[in-house]
Symmetry: C2
Subunit: 798 residues, 2 copies
Amino acid sequence: MTHWSLIYETFDPKEESLREALCTLGNGCFATRGAAEESQADEIHYPGTYLAGGYNRLDSCIAGRTITNEDLVNFPNWLLLKFRPEDGDWFNLMAVDIITYRQELDLKKGLLKRLVRFRDHNQREFTVESRRFVHMANQNLAAIEYSITAENWSGRIIVRSALDGSVINAGVARYRELNSTHLETLSLCEGSGPDIVCLLTRTNQSHIHFAEAARTRIYKGEQQFEPERKTYKEEAIIGQELSFELEQGKTITVEKIVSIYSSRDRAISEPSLEARYTLQQCERFSDLLVSHESAWKYLWRKSDVVMKPSDSNQMIVRLHIFHLLQSVSPNTVGLDSGVPARGFHGEGYRGHIFWDELFIFPFYTYRLPHITRSLLLYRYRRLNMARHLASAEGYKGAMYPWQSGSNGREETQIVHLNPRSGTWGPDYSRYQRHVNIAIVYNAWQYYMLTGDQEFMALYGAEMILEIARFLANITHYNKTTQRYEIIGVMGPDEYHEKYPDEEAPGLRNNAYTNVMTVWVLERALELLGQLSLENQRELKEKLSLHAEELEHWRNITHKMTVPFHENGIISQFEGYENLQEFDWEYYRGKYGDIKRLDRILKAEGDNCDRYKVSKQADVLMLFYLLPPKELRSIFQQLGYEFDDDMVKRNTDYYLARTSHGSTLSRVVHASVLDRIDRTEAWEMFCAALKNDLLDVQGPTPEGIHLGAMAGTVDIVLRHYGGIDTSEEIIAFHPRLPETLHGLHFRLRFRNYWFELDINKQTFTLIVEADGMDSVVANVNGTLHKLIPGEPHEFPLKA
Amino acid sequence: MTHWSLIYETFDPKEESLREALCTLGNGCFATRGAAEESQADEIHYPGTYLAGGYNRLDSCIAGRTITNEDLVNFPNWLLLKFRPEDGDWFNLMAVDIITYRQELDLKKGLLKRLVRFRDHNQREFTVESRRFVHMANQNLAAIEYSITAENWSGRIIVRSALDGSVINAGVARYRELNSTHLETLSLCEGSGPDIVCLLTRTNQSHIHFAEAARTRIYKGEQQFEPERKTYKEEAIIGQELSFELEQGKTITVEKIVSIYSSRDRAISEPSLEARYTLQQCERFSDLLVSHESAWKYLWRKSDVVMKPSDSNQMIVRLHIFHLLQSVSPNTVGLDSGVPARGFHGEGYRGHIFWDELFIFPFYTYRLPHITRSLLLYRYRRLNMARHLASAEGYKGAMYPWQSGSNGREETQIVHLNPRSGTWGPDYSRYQRHVNIAIVYNAWQYYMLTGDQEFMALYGAEMILEIARFLANITHYNKTTQRYEIIGVMGPDEYHEKYPDEEAPGLRNNAYTNVMTVWVLERALELLGQLSLENQRELKEKLSLHAEELEHWRNITHKMTVPFHENGIISQFEGYENLQEFDWEYYRGKYGDIKRLDRILKAEGDNCDRYKVSKQADVLMLFYLLPPKELRSIFQQLGYEFDDDMVKRNTDYYLARTSHGSTLSRVVHASVLDRIDRTEAWEMFCAALKNDLLDVQGPTPEGIHLGAMAGTVDIVLRHYGGIDTSEEIIAFHPRLPETLHGLHFRLRFRNYWFELDINKQTFTLIVEADGMDSVVANVNGTLHKLIPGEPHEFPLKA
C-alpha cells in the first residue's frame, strides 16, 4: 500500500504553534508546520507538513447540519480522553520527554493513528497508541481508542473520559472579538449503563439540540475488566474517572464509543433518547472499524485517482479526495446541508455557502451524483428566499445571495475588516451575481451526467428558469450600442468593487457575468424544450412565463455586450483597459507576499480599483468552465470574433496581472494554461496542489479550501484524462502531462461506469453497462461502440 | 362543475354530537351526522352526512412531522377567530337562531366555506361567511377569512383572533385516561408588526418546536382599515382583540394569515424567526388562494378519476382522493414522514404506521411516484432499527415492527383494552410479520412503475434484501413434510392470535405470509440480478450475503408450505379446518352489529381463536395483491395445484366467514369478487365507498381510514380500468361494471403518461411521451404501438 497515509514523525514541543494543538494527545488539533519532504519509504512521510484540518475537526464533519444563521457551530467535543499515573500529572506532550512520536492519517481507512513513547519526570516510560475515527457508515457514531503500556514500572492509572460542551468558536483570530459562544449546555447526566455519560447542548440562536452519549470501557487484551469508576461533572463537562492497576510491560486499552444526534436528524424521537439507544446497540471499537473501513472502501473504489509516478502529488490528490469525502458523503444526502467554502474543517467564513460549489460539485457529479442531487436540493429549498431577495431589490426571478447560511438569506457583510490596517471599509462583494450562474452550471452538469429528467421536472427547471429570469431582468438594452448590458456587478475577481472615480458599487459589463448569462439563458430555453408537455405547461403557468419573456431571453443571447480592449483582449469589464498598470516589482520588493493586494493597497490609502490587477481568474473563468468550441459558438452568435489565439492571448494578458489572492486562482490558471503551455500548466497544477498542504495562502488554519481541492481533482479528469461530458455522448481525449506516466480512474456517465487507464502509449477504456449490448463513446474525435466489460485499447500519440 | 363539493345545509343545535364541534364557527371540527341523501342539484348535497376529518384537522395535515414516539400531536390551533357585538355574547351557533346554514367543502380548490345567517337574542341579524385553507403550494401557510354583515342593525363589533397552544389530544374517548397533553407553551409574544402575534410551543417528549405567527387585518371591500387593536394573553393563548364600527347592510372582512414552522423544517434558522419572516412577505387571502388553487389544480390533473354517471360514487371517489392528497402531497417529500393508518385526520392509533401503506402507496405510485420514493425512504431510514428488532429476537435481517412511530421502534401495545368489557387482555398483534411484505410490495411496485434503478441501487435493494433475509430466517425446514414452514405468526385477519388450546402466541403456516414470503424471496433474487455488478458486489459484501444464503432462498421458493383443507380450500393457517363453525345468525340476532366479534366474544369469556371467523381478508389478500397468473405460477412452482376455480372457491368460503371488522375488508373483497361476481363486487365496492362517509365501522371520529379510501380508488384503476403494471410492458384490459357508463383517468408508467377514456363501447388511449416515436402497450392481450399524442381507439366487447 503506497501513498495512502500522511505521516508525521518529528515533534518539537518548543514550536509555539504546536503548543495548544498538541497539549492533550488526541484531543483537538494536530496541526504541524514545516516544509514537505519526500522519503523513499513505502509510505510518504511529511515530517512537519502543515496539516490543519486533516482530521482535527472530523467531529464537525458529521455535522453539516450545525450551520446556523450566523455561524458554523462546533460540535461538543467528544474526544476528551486523558490519563495520569495516580501520583503524577495528566499526560501532556509539552511536559514530558518524547522518545518516539509518530502520527499517521490513513486516508484509505479514514483513521487517525498516533504513537507516542515518552518518559515522565519520575523516569516512568509510557507507550501510548491512539486510533480514532468518525464512522462513515453510521453518521451518528465516533470512536477513539488508547492503548497504554507501562514500559518500566507498575502502578495505578487514572483515566478521564468526558464530553465537553464548553466548545467555543475561536479558530479564527480576527473573529475572536465577536461572540464566540454558540453552544449552551442543557443537561449533563449519567446514561443508561454505568459506563455511559450523556451531554445535551443546544445552539443558542437556532436552538438545534445536540445530544451525545459516551461509553468508556477498559480491556486487557480481549478481556474487558471493570475499573474503579466515578462520574464527575464540571461546568459543561460530564465524564468518568476510571482507575486501575497497570503492570510493567502490560498494555491496557481504553475504548470510548460516542453516539451523536442532533434535533435535525431523521428517524429519531428525541436526540438524547437516540444517542443512548444507539450506544446500547454498539459493538467494540474494532467491530465498528470494520464497517467504517468498508464504507471508505466503497467510496474510494468510485473516487480514487491513481497516478504514476506514485509520488507526493499522488498523495496530495488523495488527501484532497479524502477531504472532499469527509466533508460531503452519502451521509449528507437528505440532510439539507450545503457545502461551505471551507468544508467543515475550520471556522473561516463561518460556514457560509459561496459560489465555491461551482468547483466542488463536479467531484461528486462524476462519481456519486445522488450527492449532487441532494446538494442542489439545498439550493432549491431556498428558492423562495432567493425570490424574496430579488423582489426586495426590485428584480424578477430568483437572486441567490453571495453568502448564505441556514435559511438562505443574504449573509454577506456590509463592512469588512482589513486586518492589515485594523480599519473597516465598505464591502460590495454581495454584488457578485455570478453565484447564480454557478448554481445553474452545476444543475446543468448534473443533468448532462445523469440524464435525470425527473429531477429537472420537479426541481431543477424551476430553479434554472427563475435564475434565468433574474439574470435577464438585470440585463438592459442600450440604445446607443444596440446591445444588452449588465451594470452594477462584481466579477469573480473581487479586487474591483467599483470604478475608482465613481460612488456607485459594481462595474459595467463584467465579461464573465455577461457571457455566462447568455449561456444560462440558452440552457434555460433548451431545458424548457426538453421537458414533457405536462411539465412545461405546469411550470409556465406556475411561473407566469409567457412567450414574450422567452423571446426576450432569446434576444439577449444574440445581443449581449462583451467588452474588448482595442487589442482584442476581452475586457474584464468595461473600462478595465483605462486602468493603470500596476508596479508588481515594486510591491513585491516592498511587501514580499502580495497575494492580498487589496488589503495592502487599502492600508496605504490606495485601492485595487485603480489598477489592472486581479485577485483571481475572471475573464479566464470562461475558458475554465466552457470548452473552446462552446465559447466560440457563443461569441459568434453575439457577433464577436473568436480566433484561435483567443485563449492564449487572454491567458497571457491576465495571468501577468493576477496576484493569486484566492486559492482558486491557481486551479483555474492550471486548467486554462493546459491548452497553451503544458509545462507551465503542470507547475501551476503542482502549486495548486500545495495550496493547503503548505498553507500557501496563509488561512489554512481557518479551514481548508474545498473548492481548490476539488478543482485539482477536476483538472486531472478533464485535462489529463481528457473527459468531456458537455454533450449527449461522452468524449475522451486523454493527454498526460510530461511528468505523469500513468493515470487510472473511474467515472460515471448516465447509468454507466467508465474505467480509464492511461499511459504514455495507450488509453484503455472499459465500460460497465450491464444488460447493454454496447455503449457509444467519442475517443479522440471518433465514435466507438464499446462492448461492456471488455477493455478497449486506443493508441496515443507521443 | 359537478361533484366537487360536499355541502351540508341543515343544522340542529340539539344534536349532542355537534355541540362541541360547532360551538365556534370555523373553529375545530365540523362533524355532522346523518344519512346520505342525493339531490338533483348541480352539486351533491349530503345533509347530515358524517364528515369528520373532512377538513377539521387540516391544520395537522401540514404536520406529518408532528408524530412523536407515543402520539400524534395536534398542531397549536391557529383557527381561533371569534366575534361579538360590543354589548353581546361571543357568537355561538348553539345560542342563536339559525336562519341559513350552508357548509361546503370544495374538493377541487381545497377550500372550506361556510355561510351562516342568524339572529341573536337582541333580534340582530348577522350573515357570516367564512373561507379557509391550508396552503398546498406553501406548506408553512394557512389562512382564514370571515366576512361579517350586519343585516338589520349598526354597532360596534369585537373580534378576537388568536393562536391557541392549549391543544390536547382528546379525540379518542378510550385514550382519554392516558396523558393527553403533549404540547407545552414556550412563549407568547407580539410579532414584527402591530397586527402580528406569535406562539412558540414544543412537544413535551420529542421536543419538536412549533412556531406560529398570525396576522389579522380588517377590510371594507378592498380597503384595509385599522381597528382599535389590543393584544391579550391567556394561558397558552395569545391573540388580538379588534374593535370597529359596523354599519347596517355593510360587510367587513377579517383576514387571518398564519405561518407555521416546526424545528424539523428545512431551510430554516429558528422556527419563530421563519414564521415571522414568512408572514412579512405575505400577500392577502385572495392572492394566497390563487396559488393554493393552482397547486390543487396540478394535483387533480394527475389524480382525478372521472366517472359516469356523475353520482354520489363519483363524489366519494373524489373525496377519497382529496383526503389522500391532503394527507400526503408533494409537500411530504423529504419530510421523513410516514403515512399513519388514519392519515393526519384523527388521533386513532396515535399516528402510528402499520401495514396500511400496502393499500395507500399505490395511489401515489401511479401518479406522483416521487412521493412514494420519499415514503419508502422513511422506511429505509429505519432499516437499522428493523435490524436491531430482528437481532433482539434472535433473527437475521430486518424485521419491521407492526406499529411504529418516529424512530421506527416497535410501538404495538402488549395489552389491549376491550372497550366492551372494560378489561385488558394480551395483544399479540406484533406477530404480524407481514408488514415487511407490504414494504417489499410497495418498493417493488415503485420499481416496476418507474424503472428507478438508482433508487434500488442506493436504498431499495438493501431494504428488500434485508427483509428477504429476515423472512427466510423465520422459515424452517420440516423434515417430516420435507417442506419449509413459518410458525408463530399472525395473518392479516387479526381475530386469530394463537391456537385455542395452546399458550404460545401465533399460528403455523399462515397461507398469506407463506406465499408472500415466496414472492418476496423471488423478487429479492430477481432484483439482485438486475443490479449493476458494482452494486451487487457492494451490497453482497456490505450485507455479507453469500451464495449459500441465496441458494437457501431459492430452495424456499420451491418448497414452502401452503396449508390446504381437505376440500381444496387454502387454509388460512394450519389447523383452521379443525376450528368450529361460528353461529353467525345467533350472534347477529343477539348483538346486531358484530363487526368487532373479537371484543364481543372476549367479553363473553369466549374467543375468536376457536372459530372459523375472520375480521378481514387473509387468504384472499393473495388474490387482491397478485394477478391470478402470477399466483398460479407460484403455486405450481411449490408443487400445488391451482385450478381455474381456485379464486371463486376460496372467495365463497372465506367471504361467508368474515365479519368485515376492518374497513379494509370490503375493499379487498370488492376487488376479489370482481373476478367472480361483478354485481356482488359492485355492491361491495359501493359499501366500501361509504365506509368513512357513513361511518360504517364506527371509529371515523377517530380519523378516516386512508387505506380503505386509497383501496377504492385502486379498484377503479386496476379492475374497471383494467391496468396491470406487473410486467415490463403496461397492460390494459378495461371492464366497466354494469352501473358505470364511463371512466376517465391518467396514470404514469415509466416516463409516460397514459390517458384512458373508457365507455361501454370504446376504450380510447393516449400516451404522452415527448420525443418518442412510439410506446408499446398491451391492450386486451395484444401488443400495440402507440403514437404519442394520438388517441388510439379500441372497441370493447359488450
